[in-house]
């Protein structure tokens, strides 16, 4: 249809001529083309598409668009589809509830198929007109019109939602439903949203979530009033699993997280406090009865909701604190350190087990448990002593039927409890006492076991903590060398020793020793002592030696009318018995005066010497205790089948005086440590303000004990008095270090 314009013709005129010619020509052509397309689309809608020539239809549509009539075609198509879908909607609307979804699904599938064909025919329009005019592509136009005419139809919209919800309700109550159909419908709603989920959300999801909340609100109320805590949790587990399955079977994936949140809130959050506190089946009974599976279930369920685990932690913490408090404050149990500790170890074992097997090694749970243990162990000021005593029992010789490895495992467990002790310096004091006894009385099960324990403590508390304990072992070794030298030395003496003397020489400060003499030694003993002293001091300059007569043992020969026996006694008992070489009868007061043995010790040792089992001395009065008016005599009627007789010393319990002495020593020690710490810090920093200094001191010392800020303040004042520190002239709360 091209014409070659004459050169001389007016160009403007020609253009107008051409345009009007083409217009007339086009109108006919386009109307014809549309008629053809309209018929074809109607044929497609009536499912007879096989009779159509795709090639012809495409060409017609192409021509229409090429002649700039894209808009005409687009609008006509829209009108046509609109009319068609209005009819479809009427059909869907007319369907009864039974077949409603099926009918809708059928129409939807037909519509999609038609739209694909129409899209193919009108492909040229999609590429040019649609692209330029920024309107919806043909297929999307079909989706939008389906949405507006069918899905949003007044008589369809709510019915669709309600029927879907009704089906899900049926399934929740155990009925079988056509899942595939729902899946198709939800998929349709998603597709209708094109690139958003808005159609799915508005026509289904929002109401679905609301009904779910309501459903589980009622359901959970009903369950909680009839079930035990574990049963309720099992039911919840099933419900949550079902809901998850529901999503994967026929809902869109985006619903999963929302559905979880809604159902968890109703099933867990809203009832967790009630669950945890349920009498006879709640968290506390589950803990008490080690219900691992139930606890695990609770942990998993509670992890899913905000604050769930915090609630569990709070209840566990409170419970453990209560149980622990009962153990450490139990008068009966604390009397026997064995049971006391066993109970604590059992409790630790139990919760370690729960922590690993029920709480998935949760770090926060561990922290909570540790804090609880720390809390109650430190409630009893005797805990440091008891820990040391318990270790003492395990390291003493003669532990029946317990292998070395077993002891090692046990010691590790004890150490875990030791970690919670705040007053580690008090523990050190007692450990020193107990270790001293084991070493000096040769009661240690083995050197290896002792050193193993020290190594453990060193790892736990550092070199500082164990240096003195290690020094005790060095002293033991040095004493052996000293005694070898002394033996040779005694052979050179003019007057030989009247008995075998063996001495442990202890370094003051490492051992629980005192720098003052405990008792007056008889002359024959003193003679030997002096011999040793002069040997020792000839080897070591500038030292002073003090006899620790409250320790040590002796073997003495005692001739009774019937027989001679060898008695194994304490140093004090030896000193007492020697008095009877000169006199028959001696009163308590005289013994006390002559020997100078401290009264409580004297009473204890006399008790042992007059005991029914080995009555070496006779007491005139019948009283069971030793009185100051008592008079003692050698028991001439003493009889024993054994040649060697061991006088058991009455078990020494710390007297209240000794307890307060130990406490006093600890406090004195702390003063030194606090001062040393202040000086160390100030030497490094030169200047520091009051509150920072105090908190730094507490930080430095907390591995040994928790210093009281008031005491730290007093030490600062004392150091100012002694001119180690001064207050700043500008600000009295700032201290300067004085070199």
């Amino acid at each position: 249809m091209s014409t070659k314009p004459q050169q001389k013709i007016n160009l403007t005129h020609l253009k107008n001529y051409n345009a009007s010619y083409q217009q007339a020509d086009n109108t006919i052509l386009i109307n014809t083309a549309w008629k053809l397309l309209e018929d074809a689309i109607k044929t497609i809608h009536s499912k007879n598409a096989s009779s159509l020539s795709f090639e012809e239809l495409y060409r017609n549509a192409y021509n229409v668009v090429l002649h700039k009539h894209g808009e005409f075609l687009y609008n006509n198509l829209k009108k046509l589809l609109d009319t068609h879908l209005k009819n479809i909607a009427q059909g869907v609307e007319a369907a009864n509830d039974e077949v409603f979804l099926k009918e809708l699904n059928r129409c939807w599938n037909d519509h999609k198929t038609s739209m694909m064909m129409i899209r193919d025919i009108l492909m040229y329009m999609d590429r040019t007109y649609v692209d330029q005019s920024k309107v919806a592509p043909v297929y999307d136009l079909g989706l939008n019109l389906f949405r507006d005419n069918v899905i949003h139809h007044k008589q369809i919209k709510d019915r669709l939602t309600n029927i879907l919800l009704e089906m899900i309700k049926k399934e929740r109550s155990g009925e079988m439903i056509n899942r595939l159909l729902i899946k198709n419908i939800t998929q349709m709603l998603i597709e209708l949203g094109i690139n958003s989920k808005i159609v799915y959300e508005e026509s289904f999801e929002n109401q679905f979530l609301a009904t779910t909340a309501k459903y589980y609100q009622l359901e959970s109320q009903q369950l909680i009033s009839t079930c035990s805590c574990p049963d309720y949790m099992k039911k919840v587990e099933t419900c949550l699993k079902d809901e998850l399955e529901r999503v994967s079977l026929y809902l869109d994936g985006s619903t999963e997280s929302k559905l979880k949140e809604v159902s968890e809130k109703q099933l867990i959050s809203n009832h967790m406090k009630t669950l945890v506190k349920m009498e006879n089946s709640g968290l506390i009974s589950m803990l008490t009865d080690d219900k691992i599976e139930d606890l695990k279930r609770m942990y998993i369920l509670f992890t899913r909701v905000p604050d769930g685990l915090n609630l569990m932690k709070d209840v566990i913490s409170k419970h453990v604190r209560e149980i622990g408090r009962e153990i450490v404050m139990d008068e009966e149990k604390t009397k026997e350190q064995g049971t006391y500790f066993q109970s604590l170890l059992d409790l630790k074992d139990k919760y370690d087990n729960l922590h690993i097997n029920a709480f998935f090694n949760d770090k926060q749970f561990q922290h909570t448990l540790h804090q609880s243990f720390e809390y109650f162990i430190n409630l009893n000021p005797k805990s440091p002593e008891f820990i040391s005593l318990f270790i003492d029992e395990k390291l003493k010789k003669g532990l029946k039927g317990v292998g070395e490895e077993e002891v090692d495992i046990l010691l590790d467990k004890i150490l875990m409890l030791f970690r919670f002790i705040q007053e580690k310096d008090v523990f050190e004091k007692y450990y020193k006492q107990h270790l001293a006894k084991r070493l000096l009385l040769g009661r240690s099960v083995s050197d290896d076991a002792e050193r193993n324990m020290i190594a453990k403590l060193k790892t736990e508390c550092g070199y500082q903590f164990t240096s003195k304990l290690e020094g005790m072992f060095t002293d033991m070794r040095l004493s052996v060398d000293t005694m070898n030298g002394f033996k040779q030395y005694t052979q050179t003496l003019q007057s030989p020793l009247t008995f075998e003397l063996s001495v442990h020489v202890l370094t003051t400060g490492f051992w629980p020793t005192q720098n003052t003499a405990h008792c007056i030694l008889p002359r024959e003993i003193l003679h030997c002592c002096e011999a040793f002293k002069s040997f020792y001091l000839s080897q070591h300059n500038g030292r002073l030696v003090v006899w620790q007569t409250n320790m040590g043992t002796a073997e003495i020969k005692a001739s009774f009318p019937s027989k001679t026996h060898e008695l194994q006694v304490s140093t004090y008992q030896m000193v007492i018995l020697l008095l009877f070489n000169d006199t028959q009868k001696i009163g308590f007061k005289e013994i006390a005066e002559t020997t100078g043995i401290p009264i409580p010790d004297l009473k204890r040792n006399l008790m042992a010497l007059t005991s029914a089992k080995n009555k070496i001395l006779e007491k005139e009065s019948e009283s069971k205790t030793i009185e100051e008016s008592d008079v003692f005599a050698f028991n001439t009627k003493f009889k024993s089948k054994l040649y060697k007789v061991k006088i058991m010393s009455v078990i020494q319990k710390e007297t209240p005086v000794e307890v307060s002495e130990t406490r006093h020593k600890v406090d004195e020690d702390r003063k030194h440590q606090i001062e040393a710490s202040i000086v160390r810090i100030m030497k490094a920093r030169k200047t520091m303000d009051h509150s920072n200094l105090i908190s730094e001191v507490i930080k430095q010392l907390s591995s040994r004990f928790v210093p009281n800020p008031i005491i730290v303040k007093k030490r600062i004042e004392s150091l100012i008095e002694r001119e180690y520190l001064e207050r700043s002239k500008q600000d009295r709360k700032i201290y300067n270090y004085m070199a």
């Binding site: 008995f499 003993i525 500038g542 030696v545």
Partner: protein, 84 residues
């Protein structure tokens, strides 16, 4: 009645023959040891100056080696005094 001793296993303790509690340099007690020592012993006894101030052996030697010739407590010229 006759009692005779055959064997006595006894315990004694030693400490420095010093009246001051602490070393004037390191402030540690003499019963403990200087910062360089692991345990008190003959390598590091307390020593006295003519001024009667006492220090750990190691502590005063370190002080004197750093070219200080005066007692760190009273600044008088340092002179060792033997106790024996």
């Amino acid at each position: 009645m006759k009692v005779t001793i055959r064997k006595w296993q006894t315990v004694s303790s030693w400490h420095w023959d010093v009246s001051e509690e602490c070393c004037g340099i390191c402030r540690m007690q003499f019963d403990a040891c200087c910062v360089d020592c692991k345990m008190p012993g003959d390598d590091c006894p307390p020593v006295w100056g003519a001024c009667k101030h006492a220090f750990h052996m190691h502590c005063i030697l370190k002080w004197l080696n750093s070219n200080q010739q005066q007692c760190p407590m009273c600044r008088s010229n340092w002179e060792f005094v033997t106790t024996d």
